[in-house]
Amino acid sequence: MPPISRRGLLGGGVAAAGLAGAGVVGASLAGASDGSSPWPGPGVAETYPFRGAHQAGIVTPAQDRLHFAAFDVTTDDREALVALLTAWTAAAERMTAGEPAGPVGPVEGAADLPPDDTGEAIGLPASGLTITFGFGPSLFRDADGRDRFGLAGRQPASLRDLPHFPGDVLAPGRSGGDLCVQACAQDPQVAVHAIRNLVRIGFGTVSVRWSQLGFGRTSSTSSSQETPRNLFGFKDGTANVLAEETQALADHVWVGEDDDPAGSWLAGGSYLVARRIAMTIETWDRQTLAEQESIVGRTKGTGAPLSGGDEHTPIDFAMPGSNGQPVVPVDSHVRVVHPDHNGGARMLRRGYTFVDGTTDLGGLDAGLFFLAFVRDPLTDFVPVQQAMSRHDAMTEYLRVTGSAVFAVPPGAGEGEHVGQALFA
């Protein structure tokens, strides 16, 4: 049987690009070369280089689909952990280039062995796949404070479990984790393929603690993208930090050289806050349009703030409204979480909508898998979440069922594995 590569099955120009080999990692815009791209993906490129100063999947224009997994490390052997990160790095580099997870391929190897790639991505392009790795607080110290891998001295002060917030009903099986992998792509099968193969590579070293699929992005991370709607039917996160905002990225997303003496290895990286926010959408759907708009603080149609204009018009929180109240209600979501009311705190939100079937009560088990990248969760996330818990009218329709925080190391350089500086 002749060798079949993922790209070899594609027709036209994309196949030709595939034949050019592994070097095709420049961010060529989807469809820009030959118009035959199978996804629309505004602003999303066909491939993103795995290596670089920062990990891909943060300022990368948010792809439409997500598969996210958190892992428990099951070994206490530091070398085994490093070996896994090395193997994951190699697999991630291949897959993000549109190649198989293993060096051999799904059907190219010996007939009497299981293939080193699971095969469901045969014929699919890279689909803008990014794979982003993170380290949870429990990697550094276990629940009893024990140093697991000789890394405790390098745990940044801000890398610790989030405090309990009112409204949290966390399931242990949906929270925490020693490691995380975020796979984003335009094609859900490509994202799932990435996680599945990384899980497989990790057996014996790690075990999946929880994972989450997201079927639609809820954020824009580039000015080239429209703000999508969440399951409440509203545009949310209009004030997101965007890839084009260099200064805001430096101030609010990337960890600085001098942020934490223990965490110098994290410089150029970020923190990832993951929250599984279930929406009680059946109850929400019974609110009148006017109430829904009051709760969000925006119109449902255009996303314009209630103080007028269009979606991107700055919100006038002081504008007087009827009955002696501001026209943007004081407990509306946009007001409570706005940087102006949180000491300038901002984040790069990259969340996804999920529906995990139905609940025992027959409602949709649906909501927002909130993902945010911040320079410091203690200053850019926790105060905002506390304000939301206390004052945001929307929290009535939300319950947080999972929560985790991870340190996302900077991008891997040539010849390095992800997070190498931590283990150096």
Partner: protein, 390 residues
């Protein structure tokens, strides 16, 4: 409990209660397109341009666009320029909001109020006779008055009973008569749950009286019903340290004092029909989010008592406005009647003694059936307010 002022009560508190009034963003009336009943209004700093000066009687719709740079309001006033027939508030700059109003033939005044000050920019407006002539029944105001006053009486009565039972509960609890306290706990809370949307509208009292453990912030002191509930039913708590006699007294005294304050404040409240209708809907939301899930009474498992009490309160609210609904939307009235009955039958099947079986005794299917019945009732109930004030 809910962590904050419920949206239903919070929002209606802002609404001006007027008979034959508006709902913003109500759906377009059937057949209103092209029949002269859909009008546009452009409100700017110095103009209030209505697309026509007259319209045929029936359901009129005004799409009010704010062309100015301050928040504006639009009113349809009676001939005297005083009586508010319908209004739409909080129209932000460049935004459009809708006023839907039933108007019988007659002379009216339109008014835009940019900046929400003064008399507004006024024009005469005429509603001409038509086949869709709206009859505002003379006794509708009587129905409204009756609904409002009977609901007020009901809320006050429940509040008084809550106070009596809370005092009894507190006595038993501080005296260490745990069996008696456990027996009284769901009974007293029934009176709270029947008026829950009112009781929890006091943002300072509610967290002190009805907070669940999961609702607390780190460092926040936990007081109120559920604190004592856990002390009386510690079985699910693992290694639980019982409260001392002194602690018991502190919590019990605090709850009684807060209940007295609540009772005083409730005495000052009036209720409008839209608040009553919204309260009815809000109580069913409480059932859907806290009771049918078995989360409200985590320790005692007496959720079904609360469930029934929420439904009682919703039912009383609905019964009060039902004569209005029967006039305006008989189909909705009969549907609500049917679905209240269906839900009540399911609840009745779980009665035991003077109360209900423990939530833990419900099978998955029984919980599911209850949830389905709550959804079936809640959907039409969510349209109640619009019908009542239409």
């Amino acid at each position: 409990m809910t962590r904050r002022l419920t949206a239903a009560v919070a929002l209606v508190a802002l609404a001006v209660p007027v008979l034959s009034s508006c709902t913003e963003n109500a759906p377009a009336a059937e057949g209103s397109d092209g029949d002269g009943r859909t009008l546009t209004v452009s409100s700017s700093a110095d103009a209030c341009d209505v697309s026509a000066t007259e319209a045929p009687a029936g359901t009129l719709r005004f799409d009010v666009t704010n062309a100015g740079d301050e928040v504006t309001e639009f009113y349809l006033l009676g001939e005297d320029g005083l009586r508010i027939v319908g209004e739409v508030e909080n129209v932000g700059p460049q935004l459009t909001r809708q006023l839907v109003v039933n108007a019988p033939a007659g002379d009216y005044v339109t008014a835009c109020k940019p900046g929400m000050v003064g008399e507004g920019i006024r024009s005469d407006f005429t509603v001409t006779p038509s086949d869709e002539e709206v009859q505002v029944s003379a006794d509708e105001q009587e129905l409204v008055d009756a609904a409002e006053s009977s609901y007020q009486t009901y809320v006050q009565d429940q509040s008084d009973q809550l106070l009596v039972k809370t005092r009894e509960f507190a006595e038993d609890y501080t005296a260490g008569d745990d069996d008696a306290a456990r027996a009284l706990y769901p009974v007293a809370r029934t009176h709270w749950e029947r008026i829950e949307t009112v009781a929890e509208s006091f943002g300072d009292l509610d967290p002190r009286m009805d907070a669940r453990e999961a609702d607390l912030e780190p460092g926040q002191r936990w007081t109120g019903w559920h604190r004592m509930e856990k002390d009386l039913w510690p079985q699910r708590a693992g290694d639980y340290t019982p409260l001392t006699d002194a602690q018991r007294r502190t919590f019990a005294d605090g709850l009684v004092a807060d209940t007295e304050e609540l009772d005083r404040r409730i005495g000052d409240l009036d209720f409008t029909v839209d608040q009553i209708a919204n309260g009815s809907r809000g109580l069913l939301e409480e059932v859907a989010t806290g009771k049918v899930t078995g989360e409200e009474e985590y320790w005692s498992r007496t959720d079904l008592w609360d469930f029934q009490a929420n439904v009682d309160g919703a039912r009383v609210g609905y019964d009060g406005v039902a004569p209005i609904v029967e006039e305006k939307d008989p189909e909705l009235a009969s549907q609500l009647e049917l679905r209240f009955t269906d839900l009540q039958e399911l609840l009745d099947a779980q009665r035991e003694g003077d109360g209900f079986v423990s939530y833990d005794e419900l099978s998955k299917q029984e919980v599911r059936d209850l949830a389905d019945a709550v959804n079936a009732l809640s959907e039409p109930l969510s349209r109640l307010t619009a019908v009542v004030v239409a």
